[in-house]
Symmetry: C2
Subunit: 190 residues, 2 copies
Amino acid sequence: MTTTARERLLTTASALFYREGIRAVGVERILGEAPSTRATFYRHFPSKEDLVLAYLHGVDDRTRAVVQAAVETSPSPDDALRAIGAAVTDDLADPAFRGCAFLNAAAEYPDPADPVRRLILEHRAWYVGTLTELFGEVFGDSPRRGRPEDAAAHFVMMRDGAMTGAGLDGAEAVGAAFRRGLEGLLTLLH
Amino acid sequence: MTTTARERLLTTASALFYREGIRAVGVERILGEAPSTRATFYRHFPSKEDLVLAYLHGVDDRTRAVVQAAVETSPSPDDALRAIGAAVTDDLADPAFRGCAFLNAAAEYPDPADPVRRLILEHRAWYVGTLTELFGEVFGDSPRRGRPEDAAAHFVMMRDGAMTGAGLDGAEAVGAAFRRGLEGLLTLLH
DNA sequence: CAGCCAAGAGAGAACGGTCTTTCTACCTCC
DNA sequence: GGAGGTAGAAAGACCGTTCTCTCTTGGCTG
């Protein structure tokens, strides 16, 4: 096998955590599907919490890469916001889609002091910060109809709703609602 | 004690489920805080799943009562939609707020065949159906700018996002974003 | 009205299973 | 030879669930 045991454990665990929930997946399941053994597991991840943090860290990394690529390849902040929105609707359309990994994790980790929840907050702060910057650029060269922070909050609210509702109400309908909402938000600013 | 054991068990379990998550709360915890005993518990709820369903059923009942009251006391469908929106922002402002009980439960029960998930889908179908009817009435006596289903989907998407994000980004900011979004949606229809 | 009995509730032991975690032992490959 | 991997036992805690036993209470019957 070309992959290391750590990689195998993390990717297997990530898939299971996302598909079935974090609390619902035990170490036994992960070891059975990785496959690996307890000793190897606990050599790489001192506790299950470290594995959970590594899982969310991986999602965070991939999300940042997607957003960064969307920003860099877009000629205008409008297009960048549209590209980020398209990344959201792409997620919804994935047959393996099961909601936002961070929001799902937040439902399972209510304690604000928990490191998992702190990682979630960090991720969201980065996301909304990036959006606020982009909306700021949009506002920069057109008459302002509000504050960039409010526009970013509106974007995030729609995104969270779409990510949460798509698995329940159907990805197509919710994706269309999100696309219409984002287009409305962007046209409203001009 | 004036309350029955069943009531005590259900209200205690409901508070714990909502505050800490369903999987995170064991029967032991519930019995300790109710207080009651195992035999009594299992006499009223053959399994923990029955308790979970009773918990969500209670939330469903209360939500329907609030929405029904909002509709009945509102002179127009616009006002009814505003009243339902106000009920949402009221929820967000509650210090005990910890997200939508149904969305939190959905994150913990991914299996579509699970009775818990079916109850969640029922609740959402009723909610979006009620909104669709109200938007249909709004569209009825004014030039239409879209379909009632789309407006209802947009409302639900914003609601889901607000309910999910308020516990992470702050209830005041998210509540304000939702209020602005709803007002924008309603003025857009006229 | 008296008596009784079924039902609800309390108390606690105990089941099998699964959880996370730790341990020892052996292998293998740089 | 040491670091990483394999293998498996086992700890200790907690999970949902079942069981037996006792006490109270309310309502029906004679």
